[in-house]
């Protein structure tokens, strides 16, 4: 058993993939908690999909794929904010229009290229294919996200919980929202490496949603969410190594299983032992 677990990591590329899995899991899971409690799941999905044209343009020109995705994601966040400000259209409408438009543009560009092979990694993710420079970028984004979430914890918490009061004491809730969208665009890019454009929002939403079923404390929620995301990424790594199946799909299915388990635990707590739950939550 030990041998089975340790053996893959004799390979250099597996060590790098493991590091990537930990970094991507941490970033997506911690920011994902805000995505879930601020009801931004749709926008997270949209940002992942809109990275596609950026990826294709970067690929065609031989630029860094990551940079292409970051630029496309940032443009979309700004675009969503711009179209939905004032009396334009509702935000979810703006997201719906931009997200499908950008994705279609990506597919159009994609259909003109001859080789799909490199880009399937971007569509469906391949954590085993992470390069050294990708790793540096992912590490940088992880550090930035964790730093911002730590330094501005109280402002992020307050604007999420009670935006009206935040406005009253002079906090610019719109600026904080923009900052969160920029972080989200960056985080999505790391998720793309692990699970691809199509499934990235699962890594943002599912672990955080599972954690939200298990606790009602924000820091604890981030911890559980990270645990689930990192665990799922590592499981996906093994599945990919031993069975040759898609790492992205394995990672997502593993988090989905964790969500189901969390749901059952929650169900057990509230229906079988309601008194025990009240006692426990009151004592914490």
């Amino acid at each position: 058993m030990m041998h089975w677990l340790v053996e893959p990591f004799q390979y250099r590329f597996m060590q790098m993939s493991l590091l990537a899995a930990v970094l991507v899991g941490t970033t997506c899971a911690t920011l994902g908690v805000y995505v879930v409690i601020r009801r931004m799941a749709f926008i997270g999905d949209a940002l992942a999909h809109t990275a596609l044209p950026g990826l294709v343009v970067a690929y065609l020109n031989g630029w860094s794929l990551f940079l292409g995705a970051v630029v496309a994601g940032l443009l979309t966040s700004i675009g969503i904010g711009w179209f939905s400000r004032r009396e334009g259209v509702r935000e979810d409408t703006a997201i719906g229009v931009l997200f499908t438009g950008m994705f279609a543009f990506g597919i159009l560009l994609l259909s003109r290229t001859r080789s799909f092979r490199d880009l399937t990694h971007m569509l469906f993710g391949n954590i085993l294919g992470v390069s050294r420079s990708d790793l540096w970028l992912i590490g940088g984004i992880t550090a930035l996200v964790l730093l911002v979430l730590t330094l501005f914890h109280k402002e992020l918490e307050l604007t999420s919980c009670d935006p009206v009061y935040a406005e009253v004491i002079g906090l610019r809730t719109d600026l904080i929202r923009y900052a969160l969208l920029v972080l989200l665009a960056l985080t999505v890019v790391t998720g793309i490496q692990a699970v691809g454009v199509v499934l990235t929002s699962a890594l943002l939403v599912t672990p955080a949603a599972a954690a939200s079923l298990l606790t009602n404390r924000l820091p604890k929620m981030m911890l559980i969410s990270t645990f689930i995301a990192v665990g799922s990424s590592v499981v996906g790594l093994y599945a990919s190594f031993y069975q040759g199946v898609s790492s992205g799909a394995s990672i997502v299915l593993c988090s989905t299983a964790c969500f189901m388990a969390a749901w059952l635990i929650r169900l057990g707590r509230t229906t079988i032992r309601p008194q025990a739950l009240t006692a426990r939550e009151h004592s914490t």
Binding site: I37, R86, E87, L151, F152, K154, E155, E157, L158, S160, C161, D162, V164, Y165, E167, V168, I169, G170, L171, R172, S212, T215, N216, R217, L218, M221, E281, H282, T284
Partner: protein
């Protein structure tokens, strides 16, 4: 000690001789609407007064409180708080919103939510210190929420939630308090606690402006009343209520 306030303005001192609140011919429209939510409202409030805003739902009570706290833009007329426009001194004005405006399922504890009342003094990056903790704990105990500090906010009763919002507003230690129906649909115990705390505020010389439905106790609990109807000062309705001994705004203008 560093201090980075949320709005990059220096703290402005109250202008001498100015009333706490001076509203003249105020016109407020909600963004995107041409309907006047407030139309020509005037009100001058001296320091330490307790003023009731009275009127049916939709008469503009909440709108007036939101305009004073800087949440809604002023379309016409003026609002001056100790001589300054709204939003110039966030720490000097505390606003208690209606209970329904907050997401009570949010994962935050009772004490942490009360602590957000200190944020206006902390500004960016600074974390609550010992003094902030002492202020919050003292307020939680005054509002009889002491044992509940660690609970998630949805685990409070409606009355306890209302007391929590008041604790947060008081944690701001501001001179002008804007309360949007603090006694709406609360239990008798909460009503008694909040009334006691508001009395203590008067003794400290704080100014309170409160939207209320409770017309029976107007003269017992307030120094003055402003009657609103459809965004205007309602003069004709004032005679219907027992307002003996309190000042009626707008009736002589």
């Amino acid at each position: 000690m560093f201090h980075l306030p949320y709005r990059q303005r220096r703290h402005l001192d109250p202008l001498p001789g100015e009333p706490v609140l001076d509203i003249r011919n105020l016109i407020v429209e909600y963004p995107g609407s041409s309907l006047r939510s407030l139309d020509g409202v005037s009100l001058t409030v001296p320091i330490g007064a307790r003023i009731a805003l009275v009127g049916p739902n939709g008469s503009g009570k909440s709108t007036l409180l939101k305009a004073i706290s800087g949440l809604l833009p002023v379309r016409g007329g003026s609002i001056r708080i100790t001589g300054h426009p709204p939003g110039a001194c966030h720490h000097r004005v505390a606003y208690l919103s209606q209970r329904s405006e907050l997401d009570w399922r949010f994962p935050i504890s009772v004490r942490a939510l009360a602590m957000t009342g200190r944020y206006v003094h902390l500004g960016w990056l600074k974390r609550p210190g010992v003094n902030d903790g002492r202020i919050v704990d003292e307020l939680l105990s005054r509002l009889e929420l002491s044992g509940l500090g660690a609970r998630q906010i949805s685990q409070l009763s409606g009355g306890q939630q209302q007391r929590l919002l008041l604790a947060r507003a008081l944690a701001q230690e501001s001179d002008l308090l804007l309360l949007d129906e603090p006694l709406n649909a609360v239990d008798a115990r909460t009503r008694a606690i909040i009334t006691t705390v508001l009395d203590q505020l008067r003794d400290k010389g704080k100014t309170v402006i409160s939207a209320t439905h409770d017309l029976d106790r107007l003269s017992a609990e307030f120094d003055g009343a402003l009657f609103l109807d459809e965004g205007k000062v309602a003069q004709s309705r004032q005679g219907q209520y027992s307002t003996k001994g309190i000042q009626l705004f707008g009736s002589d203008s």
